[in-house]
């Protein structure tokens, strides 16, 4: 049986947590992801940028009531990468 390599971008705790959150929703605010992952703002920002660099997420910055608002959304590439990652896990675990 051939084992697929796990995507190194997704095979990281925080990045995988972010992608798992974003795959379930249409879009989420930065604060929502921070709250749900219990990550620090700095670390979260770094990991989100890594995901953005590989086009797995889309980040939009705007203003709400004069406060900056960062919106994150999973892309089609991100969805495909996530699906491939889960399938690879499935093959590793013979599920």
């Amino acid at each position: 049986m051939e084992f697929k390599d796990l995507d190194p971008i997704l095979h990281s705790q925080l990045r995988l947590a972010i992608m798992s959150l974003l795959i379930s929703v249409k879009e989420a605010e930065f604060t929502f992801i921070k709250e749900k992952t219990n990550a620090t703002a700095g670390n979260l920002s770094v990991q989100l940028n890594k995901l953005k660099e590989v086009s797995y997420v889309e980040i939009t910055k705007q203003f709400k009531d004069n406060y900056p608002l960062t919106l994150c959304k999973i892309t089609l590439t991100g969805i495909q990468a996530f699906e491939t990652y889960v399938k690879a896990l499935q093959s590793y675990m013979n599920l």
Binding site: K26, E27, F32, L89
Partner: protein
């Protein structure tokens, strides 16, 4: 994407212990090991290799966290169930006791749009996440609202064009029962009430709303055979069972959840 979500959910259903939804009770009995604490631990292990079990556990936890982030307060269904329920009941008593109101009671539905818009804007301002389901629900109920006004316009147009003809026929044929379009139009409205209510009930897996929607369709068929007075009563019953009661249930659930989790 849904295949992936389905796969992860199926793992839970299949009893895969490492990714069970409530794995706090499986892994240990200590209060220290709540799902939140386990997640925190996993996320803190930045340098440690992520095992396959950890990955699946993390995916499952986050998907469940995202799912639980949306809470329907039930205020919308309560508002519309009350307004349409009152309008139906007042119309019933107006016909029954033959009193005249200085205005059309159904205009209340137009006024109710204002608090609905306010609630919608307020919810979108405080909302930190937008679920796919929410967008579908928003589109569904906006289409329903617009559709109701189009249906009212069509009904009014048909009534205004046919009523003089029917009146003339009744005048020439005294004692002959003539068609009363008003009575038949209620059936179209009840049919229309049922559509979004049933879809919402199915999508949210919320049985009280599904039952309420099905009741709308049953009352729709009954209303074809009943006079306008009874139709108004049926409309009121439909609104109470399809929206008001499910709305109160959602409100109670929301309050309970808020008290338990502080959301």
């Amino acid at each position: 994407m849904w295949l992936t979500l389905g796969f992860v959910n199926n793992l839970c259903i299949a009893g895969f212990p490492a990714i069970s939804e409530d794995f706090s009770g499986i892994f240990c009995n200590s209060r220290r090991f709540t799902p939140g604490n386990i997640l925190k631990k996993i996320l803190q292990m930045e340098d440690k290799e992520l095992s396959h079990e950890d990955s699946l556990r993390l995916i499952n936890t986050m998907i469940n966290k995202a799912k639980n982030s949306y809470h329907d307060t039930g205020v919308g269904p309560i508002l519309w169930g009350t307004v349409v329920g009152i309008c139906g009941l007042v119309s019933f008593f107006r016909i029954q006791y033959k009193f005249i109101l200085p205005f059309d009671i159904w205009l209340l539905t137009l006024i109710a749009i204002l608090p609905q818009v306010y609630l919608g804007v307020k919810a979108s301002r405080t909302r930190k996440v937008k679920a796919y389901e929410e967008s579908t629900m928003d589109a569904l109920w906006i289409c329903f609202g617009v559709g109701i006004f189009i249906l009212s316009f069509i009904s009014g147009f048909i009534y205004n064009n046919f009523h003089p003809m029917v009146e003339e026929y009744a005048r020439r044929n005294p004692g002959v029962s003539v068609l009363n379009y008003d009575s038949f139009s209620t059936a179209f409205f009840l049919l229309w009430y049922g559509f979004p209510t049933i879809i919402t009930g199915v999508l949210r897996n919320f049985k009280p709303m599904l039952a309420g929607g099905i009741l709308c369709w049953i009352l729709c068929i009954i209303s074809v055979f009943t006079p306008l007075k009874i139709d108004m009563l049926l409309t009121s019953v439909a609104a109470i069972f399809a929206w008001l009661i499910p709305g109160v249930i959602l409100w109670k659930r929301f309050k309970k959840r808020k008290a338990a989790h502080g959301i």
